[in-house]
Structure formats: C-alpha cells, structure tokens
C-alpha cells in the first residue's frame, strides 16, 4: 500500500502537487531537521558569510567595520609572516599526513596478528589519541629538552646525533610531527577494522599461488585498504592545516613571545589567532581564514582527484 502511494507520489502530476505521503514526510522531515538547521544557519552559515564580509573591512572588534575593498588581500600577499605561516603549515601537513598513514597502517598490521593479548595493545595504542593534545605537548617539551630530555639521552646511547629539537628551526616541525603520532592509535583502529573486513579467502588463494607476506600485502591488503587510506588523507589534511595546540604549547603558550626559533612554529592558525585575538586585526584575520578555506577546499579536491587513480572500490558493499 505504501509502495503504491509512493509510486503515485513520484508520477508526473506530483511535480506540482505533492502526494499525501510525501507531503507528510516533508513536514515531519523538516520538523526533525529544524533544530540542526537552525543551529547551522545561525552558528554556521551566518558566521561564514559574515567572515567573507569582514575580510573586506578594517575592523578591530570594536566600533563599526570600515569597508576597504580587497586591501586585506593585497596586504596578505606582501606579508612575509603570512608566507612563513603558510610554508610552516604546508611543510608540517606534507610530513605529518603520510607519516601518520604509515604509522597507523603499521600499528594496525601489528594488531591484526593472531596474538591473544591483542586487546591490551589495542587499548594502549588507542589511549593517547583521546588524551588532551595540550597535555601530550607538555610531556614532549620535557622529553625533547636538549640538555636533559630522554629522547636525546636515548639517541646518544645508540650513538646518534642529538638535535636541539625545540631550539633549532630545522627540527621544530619534526617535533610537531612526533606529537601528532600519539594520535595514530585512533586511526590504527580504523585501519584495523578495514583489515578485518578483507575476506580471508583472498589470502588463502594467494598462499596457494605461493605469494609471500610482502606480495600479499602489496597485492591484496594495500589495494583493499585504499578507501580507508583516502579517508585518513582527507581528514588528516584538514586537521593538519588546522594544527595549533601543539605549536602553541611548544612555544610556551606565547609566554616567551614569538613562535619558536625563526618563527618556525608559527602555524597558519597560530598566525590567525595572533592577528584576530592579540593584535585586534579582525578584518585581516577574516581574510586569512577565507584564504585558508579556499586552500582547504582546493587541496581536498586535489587529493580526491589524485585518488581516482588509485582508490579501489571493487569490494564495496551497497
């Protein structure tokens, strides 16, 4: 009965007059969605549009915004700190995202071995990813201290050079990448769920054909995991571009002034934060966030496009 009514609803006549069922569904649907929709319009769409407007103004957060056309954007092009922050953020993202994928994959493969206590390891690996980033960053400030930090003590013990992690601009971003890896446990579990979803028969028939462990990984695991890897890349990209807390804590939360040696920890969001909430340059900061928005979309689009060449959707269920 419902099906019959629905097919009437879909007929040509209904383009002008909705069927009873559809009208009812629309009414209820909008009713259910309205709390989200209202919040989304008031606290999502309106702020975004207002940010676009503010980016064309000079505004300190007090008095009225003054329209100045595209002056903020031309200022941005000539601002060396903008370029520095963009460079730092892209450098960090380009490093942290692939490293994160590899670490998560490695952890997932290790957890996928037939080991009885695997649930203990799962808990241990996962836990750091739900701890506050600021607490983890604190820990790393001490671990990475060149004088007494444990990381350098270990490096010296095995005869490796011990860099000044937080004092040498060549190493500060590596410290950020290391901190980000403590969040890898979360992705490892997502990867693990993907690994568990691969039909065991594929491996069995590959073994009959004499495939070794590496060959099986290369020809079965990796292709079937590409959708999960793409998912990680997209989310990782968006998180990477927004990196702030770890850089902020490593630089002493602004207490030491500046953003690390040679501004090497001045990430894009850090710069945006300084301009908007420390220097009262709200118009300029709005322009910065508009540029960030555009770059995020372009990069995500580029990753999707690139992924079309390697993502394997063959085994996807409907």
């Amino acid at each position: 009965m419902t099906a019959a009514a629905a097919s009437v609803g879909r007929s040509r006549r209904s383009r002008f007059k909705l069927g009873a069922i559809e009208r009812r569904n629309l009414r209820w649907g909008l009713l259910f969605i309205s709390p989200w929709l209202f919040g989304f319009l008031a606290l999502g769409v309106f702020p975004i549009l207002y940010t676009f407007f503010l980016s064309l103004t000079r505004y300190s957060g007090f008095r009225e915004p003054v329209l100045i056309g595209t002056a903020n954007y031309s200022r941005l092009v000539a601002d060396p700190d903008f370029w520095k922050a963009s460079y730092n953020t892209l450098y960090y993202t380009a490093l942290a995202v692939p490293v994160g994928v590899v670490v998560a994959m490695l952890l997932a493969l290790a957890m996928n071995q037939k080991i009885r206590e695997v649930s203990i390891y799962r808990a241990i690996f996962y836990l750091p990813s739900i701890l506050p980033v600021f607490a983890i960053s604190f820990v790393f400030v001490v671990l990475l201290n060149p004088g007494y930090g444990l990381v350098n003590w270990l490096l010296q013990a095995v005869g490796l050079p011990s860099p000044n992690w937080l004092g040498d601009p060549a190493y500060t971003k590596l410290a950020l990448v290391m901190i980000a890896q403590l969040g890898a446990g979360q992705w490892a579990l997502v990867f693990l769920a993907g690994l568990r979803g691969i039909p065991i028969e594929l491996y069995e028939s590959a073994e009959i054909d004499g495939a070794g462990a590496f060959r099986k990984f290369r020809s079965i695991t990796l292709p079937l995991m590409t959708p999960v890897i793409l998912y990680d890349l997209i989310i990782g990209l968006s998180f990477g571009l927004q990196v702030f807390t770890s850089a902020y804590i490593l630089t002493g939360g602004g207490t030491r002034g500046g953003a690390g040696p040679d501004n090497s920890l001045l990430t894009y969001v850090y710069y945006l934060y300084q301009q908007a909430f420390q220097f009262g340059q709200m118009g300029y900061a709005a322009a910065l966030s508009v540029v960030m928005f555009i770059v995020s979309i372009v990069l995500a689009g580029a990753v999707f496009r690139w992924a079309r060449g390697w993502v394997f959707y063959g085994s996807e269920e409907a």
Partner: protein
Amino acid sequence: MEKAEAIPARGVPRFRALSTRRLATASVWYALLILIALVTVFPFAWILLTSIKGPTDLLFSTPPQLLPHDPTFENYGHVLDALPIPKFFVNSIAASSATTIFNVLVASMAAYPLAKLRFRGREAIFYLLLATLIVPAQLTYIPSYLLARTFNYYDSLPAIILPSLASAFNIFLMRQAFRGVPNELIDAARVDGAREWRIWLQIAMPLVRPTLATVAIFTFVTSWNDFLWPSLMLPTPDNKTLPVGLAALLSFFSSDFRSVAAGVTMTVVPILIFFVVLQRQFVRGLGGALKG
C-alpha cells in the same frame, strides 16, 4: 623425519617450513607491539612518577632516575593552591555534558528523516552536511566571538557549548545507524497510527542505542579536550575548562616541573578513567565510524 618425508603428500614439508617462518614473523610482530607499547606508555608513566617526586628526588639525570625515593603528594597541593582546579573541573563537566546531550539529541533527530523519510530536498540537505565537513572551524571564529559578545554569553559556558551544538560527523554516524532499522517495523507502527515522533523515540531510538553511546562518548571526549576555542572564549580564570585552565601552569610553574607534572596528570586521569569504564564502546565506535 624420514618418515615424514615418506608420507606422499607433497605439501607437508613445505607446510612445516611455512609454520616455522610464521613463528619467526609472529615474534617480530610481537617485539614490535611491545616496543610500541613501551614507547607509548613510557611518557605517561614517567609524568605520573615525576608528579609524586619529592624535593630530594632527581628529575633529570643520566641515566634517568625513574622511581621516586621520597614520594609525596605535595606537588598536587601546590597546583590546587595556585589554581581553582575544582572550578575548572566543574566547568569542564558542565560544558562537555551539555555539548554531549545537545549533540545526541540534535544529531539523532536530524539523522532520522535523512535515513528513513523520503522527501524532496533530502539529498540537498545531505550534501550540505557533507560540505560542512571540509570547512575549517576557524572560518567561523571571529563572527562566533562577535555573536557571543553581542548576546552576552562571552566568557561563560554557552560560548563554547553553542557553536558545537551538532557536528555533521555525528549526524553521519546516526544516519548510518538508522538505515539499519527495518522498514517493516516503521511501516507497521504507521499502520497502527503511531505518529512519526513516537516511531522515532520508541522504535528507532532503542534500536540504535550502541551508536548513540558512540556519539555520546566521542562528543564528550572531544569537548573535554577542546583547547583553542575555549581559551579564546573564557578569559576569566574561574570560568575556564580544565585543559585551558591548567595551561596556566606554563607561566606559574615554569621552573617547578614536579607541579607541572602533577597538573598534567590531573587532566589525563579523568579521561583515563572514562576510557577504562567505556573501553568496549570506544573500540566498537571506531569500527562503525569506518562504515559511516
């Protein structure tokens, strides 16, 4: 040995060779697991031990001294004296709980028609939702700050609760769960004359309880750990949440690392307890996130 080779099945010796090789690879993975586990646990164990070190215990030495000879809780006392920790704690609980309740309610309401009611514009709303995932939160920061000032909720908890009212990701998870509710159940209820909100509340919601738990847990933890936005919105010390408030340790105790360690332990322990209690839901939730 010879007997084994005498058995005609050609695969047998090869199978045995394979199993010793398997043993070898298994032990490599084992070593790797233990190594990573140590690397992961060590920093936190070390912070915990440092936080109970007395004034005569060495903090930094080579080789490092791990166990305190003179354990004390004094460092916690220092932190509690310097900062209104109980207030931070109450603020964090209140903000995270409110954010969680709103998210569970709003997300499960919005997701139900997206999964179960056919109407024109449904796909458009869904794609709108998808698009919000790529938008960086920073794009809304300045206007959200101005809104909070205009409507007088700046420097109070609503300033951090309202902007995270409903995450698109939660709606996705809930939509995925509702799609698993059998249509027959819903149609039967309709035939019985049940109204849609009753079908949602009394039929669909009980069936998606595991996903509700996942959404609640992840929202709570995310909100608890949130740093940048609360630090912008809550300038008065008494109004701060735990992570933001404890970040003041950086300037207060920059030379007293024992107290910093005590403060860090205080932020980590609540999440630790939360995790231990709800471990199964956490892990199941991540598996579900993949399908969503």
